[in-house]
């Protein structure tokens, strides 16, 4: 009985801590605006990124040279995006409010990856410019 209670409380706390931890990583990128270039590459209008563009953005980010400081962030956000996808699917019929919240979180995840892509593109450009000036 006590073990079951501890198990339920711990798993509930784990979920809450993980959600907040992921959101603390995503929140830092929310203030950044997307450049014209990345919007053109991904096909985004305005500053809004669709949640379904997450996969495509991750594929694009794999094509860019690694800056080396966003790998861990991307992994955590990837897990969080997947988790929100599961939550959205399971809560669809039971709790529409949770579904719309999960969808907003997925949009934030996609926006986070778009900002990371933007930074990698800028980094690649700098690398290229350095090489050109070296020649």
């Amino acid at each position: 009985m006590i073990a079951a209670l501890i198990c339920v409380i711990s798993i509930a706390a784990l979920l809450q801590f993980f959600i907040s931890y992921s959101r603390s990583i995503i929140a830092a990128h929310r203030k950044s605006d997307l450049s014209e270039q990345v919007r053109e590459v991904v096909g985004i209008e305005g500053q809004n990124v669709g949640s379904d563009q997450f996969g495509r953005l991750v594929q694009l980010i794999r094509l860019c040279p690694q800056k080396g400081d966003d790998q861990a962030d991307l992994k955590i956000v990837g897990v969080y995006y997947w988790m929100m996808g599961v939550l959205r699917s399971t809560a669809r019929t039971l709790a529409p409010r949770i579904t719309s919240w999960a969808e907003r979180e997925r949009i934030d995840c996609a926006y986070f990856v778009a900002v990371a892509l933007d930074r990698r593109i800028a980094y690649s450009r700098d690398l290229l410019a350095q090489q050109m000036s070296g020649q």
């Binding site: 198990c7 409380i9 798993i11 706390a13 801590f17 931890y21 959101r23 603390s24 929140a27 861990a72």
Partner: protein, 240 residues
């Protein structure tokens, strides 16, 4: 018998622990995060000591089991001092540090006493070993409760220091995953071989990695709105 994945996790956690200590030393923050620094040093030493014992005596030897559980209990107790230091940072302006210290010492003693009372009823000759295992389980759960209360205080007091927020949340993930693992082990012993045996090493690697990440990427001056971070229920509570 340990596999390559175990060795990778051991190496990763040791590197991350050493990195945090060096990082705090270089940024001259060793005394600011003294308890965290001590914990990381102790955890690094335990990782090296554990690898040595494993190499010489094997994973199924009683010496390794003793070392694992005793050092685990000691490390968990030192993590309590880390939590206390976080409480101290959160309540710094309210000057309630003294009460926090006393409350933590009381909680720690109460947990030890409760564990002893539970173990005393068991028909076993090996009282000390059982006591350590029982106390470890209980300490993890008390750790979850303390970290959750701390997180509640962070949200309620609208603490904005990003570094502190991430340190607390990483600690929360560590404690709650380990506490859930111990509880699931008691409920479903069959899960141990395939799934649960991976949880403590993964959580043990996650914590130094997450702290290393925080100390590297998040500056001391970085600020964050807690309302943006808190999971929906807590955020809603804050707005009310």
């Amino acid at each position: 018998m340990l596999g390559p994945f175990d060795y990778v996790l051991t190496l990763l956690s040791f590197l991350a622990e050493a990195y945090v200590v060096v990082c705090l030393c270089v940024s001259k923050n060793s005394f600011r995060y003294l308890s965290l620094n001590v914990y990381m040093l102790a955890a690094g030493s335990v990782t090296v000591g554990g690898a040595f014992v494993l190499q010489h005596f094997g994973v199924s030897s009683p010496i390794y089991a003793y070392m694992y559980y005793y050092t685990d209990a000691l490390l968990t107790i030192s993590l309590f001092f880390v939590i206390m230091s976080f409480y101290h940072q959160v309540f710094q302006q309210m000057e309630v540090g003294k009460y926090v210290r006393w409350a933590s010492v009381f909680l720690l003693s109460a947990t030890a006493l409760f564990s002893y009372l539970v173990v005393r009823q068991m028909p076993s000759h090996n009282l000390t070993s059982r006591f350590v295992v029982e106390m470890s389980q209980n300490l993890y759960f008390v750790g979850v409760v303390l970290t959750y209360l701390l997180w509640g205080a962070v949200v309620k007091l609208r603490e904005t220091r990003t570094r502190l927020i991430q340190l607390v949340l990483a600690l929360g993930i560590f404690f709650s995953s380990d506490a859930a693992c111990y509880a699931l082990r008691n409920l479903y012993p069959g899960l141990e071989a395939n799934f649960l045996k991976w949880v403590p090493p993964l959580a043990g690697t996650f914590l130094p990695l997450a702290w290393a990440y925080t100390f590297t990427k998040i500056s001391e001056d970085a600020r964050l709105e807690t309302a943006r971070v808190a999971a929906p229920r807590l955020a809603a509570h804050q707005h009310s």
